[in-house]
Symmetry: C2
Subunit: 219 residues, 2 copies
Amino acid sequence: MVNKKPAMGRQKIKIEKIAKKSHLQVTFSKRRAGLFKKASELSTLCGVDIAMIVFSPAQKAFSFGHPSVDSMMHRFLTGSPPPPPPSSGLHQLIETRRDANVHEQNMQLAQILNQLEAEKKNGEVLDQMRKVNRSQCCWEAPIEELELHELEQLRGALEELKKTVAKQVNNILIQSTSSLPFLAVNGVGEVGNLGTKLEIDNASAALHFNNFAYAQKIC
Amino acid sequence: MVNKKPAMGRQKIKIEKIAKKSHLQVTFSKRRAGLFKKASELSTLCGVDIAMIVFSPAQKAFSFGHPSVDSMMHRFLTGSPPPPPPSSGLHQLIETRRDANVHEQNMQLAQILNQLEAEKKNGEVLDQMRKVNRSQCCWEAPIEELELHELEQLRGALEELKKTVAKQVNNILIQSTSSLPFLAVNGVGEVGNLGTKLEIDNASAALHFNNFAYAQKIC
DNA sequence: TGAGCTATATATAAATA
DNA sequence: TTATTTATATATAGCTC
């Protein structure tokens, strides 16, 4: 109930790096939340897929993803069974290992390997990875000598792989998310334990989501 | 100067899928632009890296990326010369070819090759690509047989490559962009011509930015 | 498709708890 | 750090061109 109100209300600011660190941190948190909310809304309103990664000033990674949401979200909330056999990708194994301790890693590894089993059955991802790899072997050669044809081939293979992975990640994400279609995962930072920053309570969802986050980060 | 103003001004809407298709398209365009702007601001204000992909209702992909911008933006605006020899990546060649016609392709190819010359000199990207490629050869082997060590190695190589490419793209983007540090590129959709959707007037910037866009798409 | 316009809905900068 | 509260800066829904 203090009566001094020197400069209340939103002030205009210049879009340039914020100098004061504490201030920057606050702004980052608020705007990141706002950005994720906007993304969520766009995704919902237009029924489109969105994926994004934001690295905090402390180098932690926050990711948001929203595949063809509504139908799947509804299906999940109503408890309907997922039509296609869900399988996850490979990337999260690689990425997830970064911050996890050894035990966690083993747990994750076991989990991933199980998922790989299912994947191998359908074979889609592995096949595509091999295809990509074959194409990428071109990179060993001097770039100047690459045939346009080879480049086209490489691009196609990568694009195909990307689509498949994204699709699968999406499936799983939707199946695992309980409330808001966005969440934060930490992954890339030098410190931090996997899971401590999760804003969802389903570890599996985090793991899978991390997969997609990783998919973007490696490039 | 018509005098009928039945329902001017912003109306409140429910966050749910928009039924009317034309309406949805408009909302998508506006909100996508807004989202990118917000991302750009967050990136600038907090000096953080952001990457995001948005698929349009027609399945076109719009991507936004922003590595450590501020310092470079400032450097660009103040006209200071870029410290490291700017060079572009390789990906845009691959991606760019998609929609361009043959002539455009040749132009781009020539341009890229010139850039590759500079790159070869510094060698950074090529070396890293080769490193990644070496690691990725692991993919040929059954995933189950991969050593954790190898996975770690692969991840590291990819991450390193990503950073380098992103950095270089930033350099060039910043140097080429005149106003807003964001723009839209079309890339993944089945149709569309490269360039028709660019929201900047500098073809070079578009090309380079496309590089980063591609970097996100291939995963 | 975009590109404005207007009037409102929202996001948020600062101060504060 | 996280949550409120204000007062304002922005984003945008619905229209028109």
